[in-house]
């Protein structure tokens, strides 16, 4: 199973310019995935969004959404925490163990629109 996930990841890193793994509550995933569709669809880059949420693909966008199982999501999160294996793989998640852009958003320092803009850079 892990070997398959790794193989897929290697293939995806070759095929896509950037990969976003979204992890968190269903509501959080829904909000973030939608925002990635909105913000990334004007770019020419090929973007892959991974999350465990069931989601209908949005047409007219360069963003590809793929639903993954919980086991794959956990494995990829673990790998991300273990080391930086690529600068094109991003985890979007609220974390308890350290601060994040979402802390800046929660405290009103930046707006969600700005958080989204950071992902588009």
């Amino acid at each position: 199973m892990c070997e398959d996930i790794l193989k897929d990841l290697e293939t995806d890193l070759e095929e896509y310019n950037e990969i976003f793994l979204v992890s968190g509550t269903e509501e959080f995933q829904d909000k973030i995935v939608d925002s990635l569709f909105e913000t990334r669809n004007k770019k020419h880059d090929k973007i892959l969004v991974l999350a465990s949420l069931e989601k209908k693909p949005v047409e007219k966008t360069a963003v590809v959404y793929r639903q993954i199982g919980e086991e794959a999501a956990n494995y990829l999160c673990g790998l991300y925490y273990m080391y930086e294996f690529s600068n094109r793989f991003h985890l979007i998640s609220k974390m308890n163990i350290c601060g994040s852009l979402f802390c800046l958003e929660d405290t009103g320092v930046i707006k969600f629109e700005e958080v989204k803009a950071i992902w588009t850079r």
Partner: protein, 412 residues
């Protein structure tokens, strides 16, 4: 640049030098930062000259640093690949290496300092196994901490910088209260950082070698341990809080308060209270002396001429002039060396009446002292943002002065 990394850079440079490769190639550096400047100096001392510094920050393009132009990374492509070597001494080796390769650069790229064992752009079985072993090593350290301090919440300050530890401790009590944590330990990478912790609280402090600390943090991240918190604002320890600086100017203190600890913006930082009096205060003329603090670990050094100008101005006015030094640091020309402990610094600067320092963590340490305080800022951009160091680090209660090329010291 920390001493251990400087030594590593120097050793690797000498290996390269002995191999003869530097004599045959045009040398490019990547990433305009303090470490790169140190490398540029080292090259110059050994009679080499860097052709250019590659940098992604468009605001820096066209600038000249000690005769070396700062240019976009793609500029390296204008040279024949086999006639060029790119030397990298920043923490972002992997990303820079990947960028150069994606640009189509096929020439030699060398890493001269390996301070980011966190990043390695490979998914090979061997790499994953090695990183997994690192997690296991880190887990062993964490288990050791747990045995030594059972039921203590663990705070990790991964960066060897007094200012970062100062900010952490300024807001930590509020954070711990929110989380309902009472007993805690703070893990830091050096003795000076531990002393900053002790200015605020008598909690246990664990001093860990940097690589062991990094491995422990990596293990805590991997395990998403609920009994640990990583009090830092930049990669690889957190998910890019500092990227917010691409859009907004946010002072570092606010990043700690709101971005790291998630506290409301109006939260008042706790001031350090556990000061001691310097044992030799009588040697300092009361309110007629200046304490200079010209050294910083991770900030570009200011030209000696700047310090000489300020020292000579105060000497002419009859002030006693001291340089705060540690280890093998030399006092500024014409000044007396003084080496108070961190917890004694406040008494020293208050006695002297004036403190003038490069903007380093020492400025944070004495920020609540009652005296004239001047912070000097090298004129550089904060990381690859559009903001200058003064935008991010300016301190209330200080005279914050940027030292540009045409700098002239103005007597107050």
């Amino acid at each position: 640049m920390e001493v251990q990394y400087y030594k590593e850079m120097r050793d690797r440079f000498h290996e390269l030098n002995q191999s003869g490769i530097l004599k045959q190639k045009k040398i490019f550096l990547f990433g305009h930062c303090n470490a790169t400047e140190e490398l540029a100096k080292l090259l110059e001392e050994n009679e080499y000259a860097a052709a250019a510094i590659l940098d992604n920050n468009t605001a820096k393009h066209g600038k000249i640093y000690q005769g070396i132009p700062v240019v976009p990374p793609s500029a390296v492509l204008s040279e024949a690949a086999d006639s060029v070597i790119v030397c990298i001494v920043t923490r972002f080796y992997e990303a820079m290496h990947a960028q150069l390769r994606s640009l189509g650069f096929t020439g030699e790229i060398r890493k001269l300092v390996d301070y980011n064992t966190y990043a390695e752009y490979s998914l090979s079985e061997e790499t994953i196994k090695r990183k997994w072993k690192r997690i296991e090593r880190g887990k062993n350290s964490v288990d050791g901490l747990e045995r030594k301090y059972p039921f203590h919440f663990r705070i990790f300050c991964p960066f060897s910088a007094l200012g970062d530890v100062y900010f952490c401790m300024s807001y930590l009590p509020y954070f711990l209260r929110r989380r309902g944590k009472k007993d805690y330990i703070v893990c830091v990478p050096g003795n000076a950082c531990a002393k900053v912790v002790s200015l605020f609280d008598d909690c246990p402090v664990e001093i860990m070698p940097q690589k062991e600390l990094d491995a422990a943090i990596q293990a805590e991240l991997y395990l998403q341990d609920e009994n640990a918190f990583i009090a830092h604002q930049d990669r690889p320890y957190v998910v890019n809080i500092s990227k917010a600086l691409y859009l907004q100017k946010i002072p570092l203190e606010k990043i700690y308060c709101c971005g790291v600890f998630g506290l409301p913006e109006e939260t008042k930082p706790i001031a350090p209270k556990r000061w001691k009096e310097y044992g030799d205060l009588d040697r300092i003329d009361k309110h007629h002396a200046v304490i200079f603090s010209p050294y910083a670990k991770s900030v570009t050094a200011l030209p000696e001429a700047v310090w000489e100008e300020i020292v000579s101005d105060y000497s002419e006015q009859g002030y006693q002039v001291f340089t705060n030094v540690t280890g093998d640091e030399e006092p500024l020309k014409g000044t007396i060396s003084i080496s108070p402990d961190i917890c004694e610094m406040r008494s020293v600067v208050e006695r002297a009446g004036t403190f003038i320092g490069i903007r380093s963590g020492m400025c944070d340490v004495i920020r609540t002292a009652d005296c004239r305080k001047v912070a000097l800022y090298p004129d550089y951009h904060y990381c690859d943002t559009q903001w200058k160091s003064i935008d991010i680090y300016a301190i209330d209660g200080f005279e914050n002065i940027v030292v540009k090329e045409d700098f002239v010291w103005k007597r107050s």
